[in-house]
């Protein structure tokens, strides 16, 4: 009896131990576990997030911004006035993406590139860091050429951003975005060509496929206009991400919504907008 017990314990422990040992043999290599999917979209609300389209993926985004909610029933609370930005983003590599877009009202073409520098690692590097560089060209007409200060380079402005985000837990991601906007041409001598701002943003997952996003840019020098504050809802429906926004800016590129925002939340200058993005896998 005693022997049987000893034997059975021996075999039991042995078989468990053996299989554990076998698993241990496999668990030796410790590759870093990268934290992924910090945001559902490549933008927090208006500004860029640390997400990039994957390699070989073309993302087509149609962005709509309506007029202000306080513009009255005559304008159907802003719905009569709409502006559009059409944008394409393409992932060249998993860490490098380029984008091209055009905004209707301001007749501005924007081109940007995003480069992922570091990734958040589980029990390792704490944040994901992405650099974003954008160039904006204001379109002109033939008559504009007559102006004294007309030069192609005068139509350009630039944005340089460092996007630093941390996925705190599976629901909450926070992002901080130091930003430099450079204007090649400014309106007055007093106005600086370089303007600095600090973006703060985040997302919180309220359901598996729905996140609430918030974004604020604080202008650090020579503030003329209001700071932009935006709220967004990202709803994922399989192939599409559907984003609903409320913001005190109707602009859809960094220079304009950071430094050229006239709307004031407290006065009801709130613009409703939505984005629809669809991804196409070009390169499998």
């Amino acid at each position: 009896m005693k022997k049987t017990i000893i034997l059975s314990i021996y075999f039991c422990s042995f078989s468990v131990k053996a299989q554990d040992n076998l698993l241990n043999l496999l668990s030796q290599d410790n590759e870093p576990i990268y934290i992924t999917y910090l945001f559902k979209g490549t933008k927090v609300v208006n500004g860029q997030s640390v997400e990039l389209p994957s390699k070989g993926v073309l993302q087509f985004t149609i962005q709509h911004r309506f007029g202000t909610l306080n513009s009255g029933f005559y304008n159907l609370y802003g719905l009569d006035n709409s502006q559009v930005r059409l944008g394409f983003d393409y992932g060249i590599k998993d860490f490098l993406a380029v984008g091209l877009g055009r905004s209707s009202t301001t007749k501005t073409i924007d081109a940007n590139s995003k480069l992922r520098i570091k990734r958040q690692i589980k029990d390792g590097f704490p944040v994901t860091i992405v650099a974003n560089f954008a160039t904006y060209v204001k379109q002109w007409q033939y008559t504009d050429n007559q102006l004294d200060n007309f030069l192609f380079t005068n139509q350009l402005s630039f944005a340089h951003q460092l996007l630093i985000a941390r996925k705190i837990n599976r629901d909450l991601t926070l992002q901080i975005s130091p930003t430099l906007i450079h204007y090649n041409l400014v309106e007055t001598l007093d106005e600086p060509n370089d303007k600095f701002s600090l973006g703060l943003g985040g997302r919180y997952k309220i359901a598996k496929r729905i996140t609430v996003n918030i974004e604020y840019f604080h202008q650090l020098n020579d503030k003329i206009n209001n700071n932009v504050l935006s709220f967004g809802f990202d709803i994922e429906t399989g192939g599409h991400v559907f984003q609903l926004h409320l913001s005190n800016s109707a602009a859809m590129f960094e220079r304009a919504f950071i430094h050229e925002t006239n709307g004031n939340w407290l006065d009801g200058d709130i613009y409703f907008g939505f984005n629809i993005s669809r991804v196409f896998t070009l390169n499998k």
Partner: protein, 173 residues
């Protein structure tokens, strides 16, 4: 009693030196056919160990290593279905229970998405002096592993997924 103890120690040392076969670059792929889109993914970093003396067989893989032809599917797979942040690994702990003409029956516990089910799988099991080749194909049901499919998705996802395993294990020296 003493004899038994000696015997146990002896066998223990023998079995520790037992012949083990290990592989780290195995392939597991899965496929499901739906009316709109076929869903497929492949993982080339599957590892496994077979112990020739006990017939123990274990598999392990990282869910995040599954590569999909469509990046968005990969995102949904990790984020919504398999929740790889909560359950990063899938493993199988089992034993070869029967081999006839290089056809083996393997039985054990398969853990996916944090849920463990016991399964029996039949496949080819070709053992030579220095290697073991394993090839198998079986079906798993998503609901057995608590993988929920929402009603509103663009592409339909099948309730049953066909899984193929292909790995070569080399004798551990």
């Amino acid at each position: 009693m003493n004899k038994l103890a000696i015997f146990l120690f002896l066998t223990l040392s023998v079995q520790v030196n037992a012949q083990r076969f290990i592989g780290k670059n195995g392939e597991i792929n899965f496929f499901s056919e739906t009316p709109i889109e076929d869903i497929s993914a492949v993982n080339n970093k599957v590892s496994a160990v077979f112990d020739g003396s006990t017939n123990d067989l274990v598999f392990q893989l990282n869910i995040a290593d599954f590569k999909f032809p469509i990046a968005l599917m990969q995102e949904h797979f990790n984020e919504n279905y398999l929740e790889s942040d909560l359950h990063p690994k899938s493993k199988f702990i089992g034993r070869v229970v029967n081999i006839i003409d290089e056809q083996a029956t393997v039985s054990g516990d398969l853990t996916i998405h944090g849920i463990t089910n016991s399964i029996d799988v039949v496949g080819s099991f070709i053992k030579s002096k220095n290697s073991v080749l394993i090839n198998s194909q079986f079906i798993i049901k998503l609901k057995d592993y608590n993988i929920k499919i929402p009603k509103i998705v663009m592409y339909k996802i099948a309730e049953e997924i066909e899984v193929k395993v292909n790995i070569e294990l080399i004798k551990l020296k």
